[in-house]
């Protein structure tokens, strides 16, 4: 029960489907709810295909429709409903108050515009500056992310992957957004570059008190960067809490499985411990607990109904039949 008046983004019961003719209806996001407080970094963790990117795109109303459609639910940014905003209002919001870093830097930049121009474009859209000032500010942003300002006039293909991602970050932060949506910002990069990029994001966050929704599948990154974590599975949040709570009082079997599959550096074992099975087909989701087919615990209720969201300790929520009242109950 955190202080509600500090919440910058609130998603309530969001449901997004992709409706196609060939493959049926893909239920990407199912009644998802989460909050982000001002100045905090919320990690959104899940396997590929869990629906994380869809959530981020939904916040910016960038879901391609067709085939995507927001079926129900609301997203409120600073207590204004995003769903009800006009096109003009949402364009003002994009890039200025809420901006996004995309996953793949190789394709996120326009190949025929200079990097400086791409940053300046964001600046000119939202700030009342003339041409010269826009270029100045864009050059500044380049310097801030560690790229020499003289490289303003170069094209994306002249940069390495890590530098391209820095440009993307510069673009996203140029107008000092209050909420940054970072969709796996380091997945496409080497480990060494990863560290630099994460440090950069953190630095900028500290300086501007930016809230961040950090989408990732890497639990190490979460530990380093996040204040709170939400674990996503098959379009739902199945566990959410502070980093401390999730890492030290793991409740949901899926989350345990995630931690368990990471090889520890101080143990010797012969095989990795993956979670058995695959995530359910989003076009064919079961009407009971979506994790039941893979669950080691295998409770009876899991095979019959969708579990409720239980608060096992202050601020720590789990969607699991067996985690009622904060402790694992025996099978019934």
């Amino acid at each position: 029960m955190g202080t509600k008046n500090n919440i910058i983004l609130s998603i309530d019961d969001l449901t997004i489907h992709y409706i196609t003719q060939d493959l049926g209806t893909c239920r990407a996001v199912n009644k998802l709810s989460l909050d982000i407080q001002a100045g905090e970094t919320l990690g959104l963790v899940g396997e590929t295909g869990a629906g994380k990117t869809t959530v981020a795109l939904g916040i910016l109303r960038l879901i391609q429709s067709p085939p995507g459609k927001v079926m129900s639910g609301d997203i409120r940014f600073q207590d204004k409903s995003i769903m009800k905003m006009s096109n003009g209002e949402i364009r003002k919001m994009r890039g200025k108050e809420v901006s996004m870093i995309f996953q793949d830097p190789m394709t996120a930049l326009n190949p025929i515009d200079t990097v400086g121009e791409q940053i300046a474009e964001a600046i000119r859209l939202h700030m009342k500056v003339n041409q010269k000032e826009a270029i100045q500010k864009a050059t500044q942003m380049l310097e801030i992310v560690g790229i020499p300002g003289e490289r303003y006039h170069e094209y994306p293909h002249q940069f390495s992957g890590g530098m391209k991602q820095r440009v993307v970050i510069a673009m996203a932060l140029a107008c000092e957004p209050q909420l940054l949506l970072a969709d796996e910002p380091t997945t496409a990069l080497d480990v060494t570059i990863q560290a630099q990029i994460l440090e950069l994001i953190n630095k900028l966050k500290r300086e501007n008190n930016t809230s961040i929704l950090l989408i990732t599948h890497d639990l190490g990154v979460v530990a380093e960067m996040c204040d709170r974590v939400a674990i996503m599975y098959a379009g739902e949040i199945i566990e959410m809490g502070t980093v401390d709570q999730i890492y030290n009082n793991t409740c949901h079997p899926y989350t345990s499985g995630l931690f368990g599959s990471i090889p520890g550096y101080d143990e010797t074992s012969e095989r990795l411990k993956p979670i058995k099975g695959l995530m359910p087909d989003p076009a064919n989701l079961p009407e009971f607990c979506k994790f039941a087919p893979r669950c080691e615990q295998g409770c009876e209720s899991g095979k019959q109904s969708v579990p409720d969201y239980y608060e096992v300790e202050a601020g720590h929520f789990v969607r699991c039949h067996m985690c009622r009242k904060g402790r694992k109950t025996a099978d019934e």
């Binding site: 087909d281 064919n284 095979k303 099978d331």
Partner: protein
């Protein structure tokens, strides 16, 4: 006791080969199927020309020239009193024959060149590509004109000319996929276990380029028919009295004012066959690689 059987039975996954999947998509494509049906219908009609018009394509009857389409002469008669229906049906045989043979010639030459260039790479690739570039500097029609000018007109030379001028297209189309396959690592793996060049080509390379080849052959059929008609129209391809469709149009040209049906009908024949082939080819391409579908 915890019930260990927590596995929900996996959803029924129908096992379909990639080919079967492509066939399914193709069958659902109405335009493509329509095109195929028309093409097959035309082929059948032309094959049955002997039955439908037993008099042949050169049965002249000056008394009955320039008759507009009616019950007795479903497509009318031409300036020499020959039934236009007979001319069109027999002509269809020729046009289609040229189309098919030329496509086979082009495919043979083009695939060999493209495959050799891609497989051996290096200077072999360079030389072959330069030669193809030279051929490409001249549009196909011009190339075909030059070849028939050198070798003379007639049915066989026409087929050869049309076929040769289409070789560069095939070669390029084949070289692309082969080059990208070659890059992939499983070829290296095959080499490591001492598979011979020939085996690699047969077993790995060819199946992967089959799709673009099939599509290209279909499109090439369409363009060959057009090319042959253009040649005959110019008087360079098939010679009179053979009723190739382009030649029919050439004969009809001077009568365009008084007897427009002589112009409309053969042209309609060419257009419908080429259109249906193109529709089918397009549909084939969409179904074989839906990722490319736009």
């Amino acid at each position: 006791m915890k019930n260990k059987n927590t596995q929900v039975p996996p959803a029924e996954v129908k096992r379909r080969s990639m080919f079967g999947e492509a066939m399914r998509r193709l069958l659902q494509n109405h335009m493509a199927m329509g095109g195929l049906i028309i093409l097959v219908a035309v082929i059948l009609l032309c094959l049955l020309a002997g039955v439908i018009c037993p008099e042949g394509y050169d049965a002249q009857n000056i008394a009955e020239r320039f008759i507009k389409p009616c019950v007795r002469y479903p497509l009318g008669t031409d300036p020499l009193g020959r039934s236009l229906l007979a001319r069109v049906l027999y002509g269809g045989r020729i046009s289609l024959l040229i189309g098919f043979v030329a496509t086979i010639i082009a495919a043979f030459g083009g695939i060999s060149l493209g495959a050799i260039a891609a497989y051996y790479g290096g200077i072999v690739d360079d030389v072959i590509m330069r030669v193809l570039d030279i051929f490409s500097a001249i549009p196909s029609l011009l190339m075909a004109i030059v070849i028939t000018a050198s070798m003379g007109s007639g049915l066989f030379n026409c087929m050869l000319a049309v076929g040769i001028s289409s070789v560069p297209n095939f070669a390029r189309m084949v070289r692309g996929p082969i080059l990208s396959i070659m890059d992939q690592e499983f070829i290296e793996a095959a080499r490591l276990i001492d598979a011979t060049d020939r085996r690699i080509i047969l077993k790995h390379v060819i199946p992967n380029v089959l799709s673009p080849i099939i599509v290209q052959m279909t499109m090439n059929l369409a363009s060959s028919i057009l090319l042959a008609a253009s040649l005959s129209f110019l008087g360079l391809g098939v010679q009179a009295p053979m009723p190739e469709w382009g030649a029919l149009l050439s004969e009809a040209r001077q009568y365009i004012a008084q007897y427009p049906y002589l112009v409309t009908i053969p042209g309609l024949a060419i257009a419908s066959v080429v259109l249906s082939t193109n529709l089918f080819g397009d549909g084939l391409r969409d179904s074989l690689d839906p990722r490319l579908k736009n």
